[in-house]
């Protein structure tokens, strides 16, 4: 596609969890827990508050259509603040300083006084019904010339366990939100920018790692389309694809709109109760429904079923809206007969509703209230198809297509968090903040100064074990040994089922130091680390592989093996080294460096031939 011609514009918001000691507005640790470890549980309802127009915000209202009890799991690592039972503590200084360090990297302007705001979120993921968020810095630049509009410090929401049950361990973990302007014009631009910002975040050394700790939201629009915000893109590799598919979606929706307009299509007003028509139906879904309703989409035939993204049709978009009422979705005539609905039933329905061939029909089934709600929602979305692309917040599905989530919030629903005092950022503090060395620079430095090859250097700096590597180098371990052990050996051991997560950094360093001291051979590292991970003390594990093969012992062993096969050696000469090496190593593996064995063998062979 020619994205320039389409008028593609995109921006991103990156949300990154910080690895602070304590949460943003309470003193709980930022530890994630297994739900099985929960210590308690409670439940609440959330109530949309009345806006200044005397109306409830549409996004909020839609969340409440299907009134739900939210259940929350508590832990011995959560407190009354997460439970919305105690006012928040003052803002976490550690988190603020990380945000300021980032601001420094992007050459931003920190605000003079940070005000914490409440942003309404009533999907249950925040016990309070709002998310606390504060604007920390504005106006930064990216190396590619893009603009970082703002850095905000926010509290992470609770993790949804399932349905309307949330786990409070995650609630309140500090997040930085880095928002760019819509300054990107190709899918690849977006992905590269996200990669760059991710690298910057990791450069602080204070961000959480692993799945779910960083999330990208992408704003996409094409010229005649509308701004769509796609939430929760966790895989960096998918970003470009998501943008591509959204461009495709908007393009197709516009095409459908044009076709509908050409057909003078319209949405039927009347929703009919057609339950009796399906009295003897074989459709398992319709069979168990209390009420079945249907309405006509005049002139929509064929378009409801048109694909707008891989695996997604206009019908899917309508279904998404209907799901907000607590229903499973819709049936539409473009996909029927199917799902147990017979051609005869469809014909009868068409006749009953007076639908022409060029018309489509939408069917909703369920309880009386839910079907009434569902039909209204379906009509609403169908009408918007006549207008083109709705402004929406969408969520990414697997593979990069998206589904409807909620309307874009109108004006930002924000008001001050009066329980948290504003925090001044005096010039003195700002000056004291130091930007960390970027990982890309660090990789270059490791390449140049430590002699790592470029790929390994990049791997080291992007690894979670970077601090361990640096500590090892500081302790005088050879950089290559450190890097290969930390990145290679440990990974392999882990793959082989060794509990490498039980190894303390100090233990790994001690083992490496034993290698550097010559106490053990580097070949012994895997076995020693395995033993330590299994609970053996480092000294003991090292001891088991050290001293067993002094230079003298090695010499004796080599002499014995050579003497035993003296004819062979004399026959083969130095070519005997390879075969004999195997025999010696069978005895010496893990006790002495292979190069040393090879050298000793070479000398002995030289001596005897």
């Amino acid at each position: 596609m020619d994205y320039k011609a389409l008028g593609l514009k995109a921006g991103i918001e990156i949300h990154q969890q910080l690895d602070t000691e304590e949460k943003l507005f309470c003193r709980c640790p930022t530890t994630l827990r297994k739900t099985g470890e929960h210590a308690g549980e409670f439940f609440r309802y959330l109530h949309a508050t009345v806006s200044e127009m005397g109306e409830i915000d549409r996004a909020a209202a839609e969340e409440m259509m299907d009134r739900r009890q939210f259940h929350y799991l508590t832990y011995d690592t959560t407190c009354l603040v997460e439970n919305d039972e105690e006012p928040p503590a003052p803002m976490n200084r550690e988190a603020l300083e990380i945000a300021l360090a980032l601001a420094k990297i992007f050459a931003m302007h920190p605000v003079e006084q940070v005000h914490t705001m409440r942003k309404l979120v009533i999907d249950g993921s925040n016990t309070s019904g709002f998310q606390r968020t504060a604007l920390v810095a504005m106006g930064g630049i990216l190396p590619n010339g893009g603009v970082v509009e703002t850095i905000c410090l926010e509290e992470e929401a609770a993790q949804r366990v399932e349905g309307s049950t949330f786990s409070l361990d995650r609630l309140g973990i500090p997040l930085v939100e880095i928002t760019t302007s819509p300054c990107m014009f190709t899918p690849e631009d977006v992905q590269q920018t996200a990669e760059y910002i991710g690298m910057v975040l990791r450069s602080t050394g204070k961000v959480k790692r692993g799945l779910g700790t960083i999330r990208q939201d992408i704003n996409v629009s094409i010229a005649a389309g509308a701004r769509v915000e796609i939430k929760g893109v966790q895989e960096l590799d998918l970003i470009a694809e998501v943008v591509r598919r959204e461009a495709q979606r908007q393009t197709t929706l516009l095409a459908i709109r044009d076709e509908l307009r050409a057909r003078r299509a319209s949405v039927g007003e009347e929703v009919r109760d057609v339950t009796p028509l399906f009295a003897g139906t074989e459709s398992s879904i319709l069979k168990k429904a209390k009420v079945i309703r249907a309405f006509v989409l005049h002139g929509f035939a064929g378009l409801v079923g048109r694909e707008i993204q891989p695996g997604r049709r206009l019908g899917s978009e309508i279904s998404d809206y209907v799901k907000k009422c607590g229903l499973g979705g819709i049936f539409h005539s473009d996909e029927l007969p199917a799902y147990g609905v017979t051609a005869e039933e469809v014909a009868r329905l068409r006749e009953h509703l007076g639908a022409a061939d060029e018309d489509a029909i939408v069917i909703v089934s369920g309880s009386k209230e839910k079907t009434a709600c569902g039909a209204r929602q379906a009509q609403h979305r169908a009408r918007r198809a006549l207008e083109g692309v709705p402004e929406e917040t969408r969520k990414m599905l697997e593979e990069g297509s998206t589904s409807y989530m909620r309307p874009l919030p109108g004006a930002a629903r924000m008001y001050p968090e009066t329980d948290v005092f504003p925090v001044a950022i005096p010039d003195g503090l700002w000056e004291e903040i130091r930007a960390p060395e970027l990982l890309c620079d660090l990789a270059r430095r490791f390449e140049n100064d430590l002699g790592l090859d470029a790929a390994l250097a990049r791997q080291v700096v992007s690894s979670e074990s970077l601090p361990l590597f640096r500590a090892a180098v500081d302790a005088g371990i050879r950089p290559n040994l450190a890097a290969r052990t930390i990145l290679g050996t440990l990974k392999e051991l882990g793959r082989d089922g060794v509990a490498v997560s039980r190894l303390a950094p100090a233990e790994i360093l001690a083992v490496l130091r034993a290698v550097e001291d010559g106490t053990v051979a580097k070949e012994a590292i895997p076995e020693i680390l395995s033993a330590v991970a299994a609970g053996t003390a480092v000294a003991e594990a090292v001891g088991a592989h050290a001293g067993g093969m002094s230079d003298g012992d090695l010499a004796t062993l080599v002499q014995a093996i050579v003497a035993d096969r003296i004819d062979f050696v004399r026959e083969k000469g130095m070519r005997a080294l390879g075969p004999l090496m195997g025999l010696v190593m069978a005895e010496a593996r893990g006790k002495v460096d292979g190069r040393k064995v090879s050298e000793a063998l070479r000398q002995e062979i030289s001596r005897v031939i």
Binding site: V111, R118, G129
Partner: protein, 413 residues
Amino acid sequence: MSDTFTTGDIVAASCRGQPVEGIYITDRDGMAVVKLGSGYNIGVDPATCTLVAKSGETAVQPPLTVEQDESLPELAIISTGGTIASKIDYRTGAVTSQFTADDILRAIPGLSSIGRYRAGVLATILSENMTPSIWQDLARAIHAAIRDGAAGVLVTHGTDTMAYSASAVSYMLDTPVPVVFVGSQRSADRPSSDNVMNGMCAAAAAGADLGEIAVTMHATTNDDFCAVHRATRVRKMHTSRRDAFQSHGMAPIGRVDFPSLAVHLTDDAVRRGACTLALHDRLEERCGLLYFYPGMAPEILRAYEGYRGLVIAGTGLGHVSTGCIRAVRDLIDAGAAVVMTSQCLHGRVCDRVYDTGRDLLSAGVIEGEDMLPEAALTKLMWVLGNESDPERVQRLMTADLKGEIRRRSDHGL
């Protein structure tokens, strides 16, 4: 607030050299607070602010009158400053408390299925600023509402001193209908506020077969049910939790389930109509409450010279140090009624067991039985407002007037 700008003005300012534009909110602690287009507030140097545009017209609240169902019982809502309803102006981020019946029904739509309402504002204060004279006004306002036909009265109140106010009104008012105090521990401007559930449960209690003054608040941290507490036996026991209010010396007199709003009253609850409406609104304000602690200097007691009544929250069964007894005796000799309660909060005072207790009794101290110190204070104000003969004061203070004393300690800790 700045002299130069009004809330709502559009201003330009500089934030460390970065130009910003936004809505001017206020000046506070030497900073100008500006709301940016994104909704975020930031603090900027007021000196850098320049006016871009004067505040536009504020969107006027449409006089959207909420329909009330005339077939439902008429309930009065009397507001004292506790915010059961509030409104957020997202343009400026300001949160304002709401007091009219319409406002309240708009904030808690569920109320309209329970009753029809008349609302009145008695005060708009933080509850720590309550005074005996406002309690009197409150008793009069409730009395008037019942006289005028209310089938029940809701009093919205800040939670800090709600128990004091409810007990004070208990003594001043004989009521044939429920008078239900309600508040919220989490502010009404948040979606998680307990105001909706507390308000609806309190309204259900106000329409129920109850005939006494009660406090209705969350019973647990869940949104599952509210407890209905007798006004003279309830105390706020947590600074911030929803279920802060707890009955002492007896179980709550009822519960209201949520969201079903089914009301269950215990046998202890006084039923509707058991009492004839009457107002006895005199209070003696010169009464105090003193919390004894070891080593307290007797001079502290002298601060109450000239008082007509003093409630002491003593230790254990009702003690103060031997050194303080003389000062207590002086107050009594000067005409004050001194009532002993316990800082244990639970259990009965008994000054017959230990020497200091016996000395207090012989000094003329009145044993406060199992009264909460707070309920004893408001009672003492009421008794001394109506009676001056020391013997009759003693008799009234040791008699059960409004459930504040139980002859038998039949309830657990």
